[in-house]
């Protein structure tokens, strides 16, 4: 399993990240291209992917749209 965290500081292959608890923890970021301020998915001490906040919002928008569009088409 992997958990999202916000990158606060990067030094070489290591980054200080916040898992949402306000405490900074060190993770290895060699497997990703990430900038400070972005979110990463962390698995066993290594960031394995950069998360897209835009896509996250897009997902929710699509979910709503999907449900609404179909509800509309049914009432027609």
């Amino acid at each position: 399993m992997a958990i999202p965290a916000k990158v606060v500081k990067i030094q070489d292959s290591k980054a200080q990240v916040d898992f949402g608890e306000g405490v900074l923890r060190e993770v290895d970021v060699s497997l990703v291209e990430v900038k400070v301020g972005e979110y990463v998915l962390v698995h066993a001490g290594y960031a394995i992917q950069v998360l897209s906040q835009e896509e996250a919002e897009e997902t929710l928008r699509l979910w709503r749209e999907l449900l609404e569009a179909e509800n509309l088409s049914e009432t027609k």
Binding site: M1, A2, I3, P4, K6, F19, G20, E21, R25, D28, S30, L31, V32, E33, Y39, L41, V42, H43, A44, G45, Y46, I48, Q49, L51, S52, Q53, E55, A56, E57, E58, T59, L60, W63, R64, L67, E70
Partner: protein, 380 residues
């Protein structure tokens, strides 16, 4: 007691962490969940039963812990495939780790590997006999330990799917200290999904593909399932809504009579996946055939360190090669639970002789094992 490295909390073992930074985006919105459940009911076939299979311990946790199965109509069944990396590690590989530990090599492993049964001993048993077995949170911890104690020999028991394998590859390629080697037991998810399709009487109608593995291998790794097997396949995230939407997307495909590869988890998974991690994995490992616990030999399903990295291969370094083991303790039905053929409750030992406190089989040991997840759930 487990000697965890430092004082860090094992975040990786805590599954119910709400991704707080996305919390405001309401990935758990109950009213939305209710509406998806309605759509599922409308889309589900009225008479013919549909079987959807996921292959991820975290998906099983989400489904079981949030009682998602109770939200589905009776014609829709969601089963758990072999998605627990610790559970699928065969006894022979645990035996290799035990043999190393009993030879005096310090074995570093993830917490839920400690109690996994080998043919007749677990690493915890080896520790009780005086072996030095230590729990680590990451491959990095094993490297640090070996650096700190140069007069001891260390082996990192590297278990995990494509989510974990890149980190092992990274540490091997970084040229770790001479006193550290790796007992690599990394396995791949797509071959396990193919195995399920070859089981004649399982009759799967669609796959929910594992989100975290997919962040690394990308959507493209599953192309074969709709193409060659006509199997609707949806990569999904781990919030309850992610899973419900994936179920809905599969039902919709089935209703339309199509088989497509779709991505529900766009916020983390791309078509190509993490190419940097893939390259690092390819540099360190070859793909080989190997045994999976209770499931037999799966072609091209496991990673092995390349020949030029053999000095870091614990099997080569210490001449430990065990090919046969006893995967299932007497009475244990893990081989059937792991392919979703039976539910944990159907194993006669479930919550009788086999409990989270005194596990018999691997599926009750690991936090990602179906039996353990069911045992810990209030919905059962």
């Amino acid at each position: 007691m487990a000697r965890a490295s430092g004082s860090r909390k094992p975040i990786g073992n805590k599954i119910d962490v709400v991704p707080k930074m996305f919390g405001h985006l309401r990935f758990r919105d109950p009213s939305l969940a209710k509406r998806v459940a309605e759509k599922i009911r409308e889309t589900a076939p009225k008479r013919d039963a549909v079987k959807i299979c996921h292959v991820c311990g975290t998906h099983e946790w989400t489904i079981t812990h949030h009682g998602l199965r109770s939200m589905l109509p009776p014609t829709v069944e969601v089963i758990a495939g072999p998605g627990c990396p610790v559970c699928v590690t065969p006894a022979s590989e645990v035996d290799e780790a035990v043999a190393l530990a009993l030879k005096g090599v310090v074995v570093a492993c993830f917490g839920d590997v400690l109690r996994v049964p080998g043919s007749d001993k677990s690493l915890l048993d080896a520790r009780a006999e005086g072996a030095d077995v230590r729990v680590v949170y990451s491959a990095m911890d094993a490297v640090r330990m070996a650096e700190k104690e140069p007069d001891k020999e260390f082996a990192f028991f590297a278990i995990g799917f494509e989510t974990t394998a890149p980190s092992t590859a990274l540490e091997v390629l970084r040229k770790p200290p001479k006193n550290l080697s790796f007992l690599v037991s990394h396995r791949l998810i797509p071959p396990a999904m193919e195995l399920l399709l070859g089981i004649g009487d399982l009759h799967i109608d669609g796959f929910i593909a594992p989100g975290h593995v997919s962040t690394v291998i990308g959507l493209k790794a599953y192309e074969i399932f709709p193409k060659a097997y006509h199997m609707p396949t949806v990569v999904a995230g781990f919030e309850p809504l992610d899973v419900l939407f994936a179920v809905y997307m599969i039902l919709k495909q089935l209703k339309e009579g199509v088989a497509k590869l779709e991505n529900e988890y766009v916020r983390a998974v791309s078509w190509e996946g993490n190419t940097k991690a893939q390259e690092i994995m390819h540099k360190a490992f070859n793909v080989v055939d190997s045994q999976w616990r209770g499931l037999g030999k799966l072609p091209s399903s496991t990673l092995k360190l390349k020949e030029e990295l053999a000095v870091f291969d614990a099997r080569e370094k210490y001449g430990v090669h065990i090919t046969r083991g006893r995967d299932l303790p007497p009475g244990c039905q893990c081989h059937l639970v792991m392919i979703g053929k039976i539910k944990p409750k159907e194993c006669p030992l479930f919550m009788k002789a086999c409990t989270p406190q005194k596990p018999v089989g691997a599926c009750m040991v690991s936090i990602e094992g179906t039996c353990r997840i069911w045992a810990k759930s209030s919905f059962m």
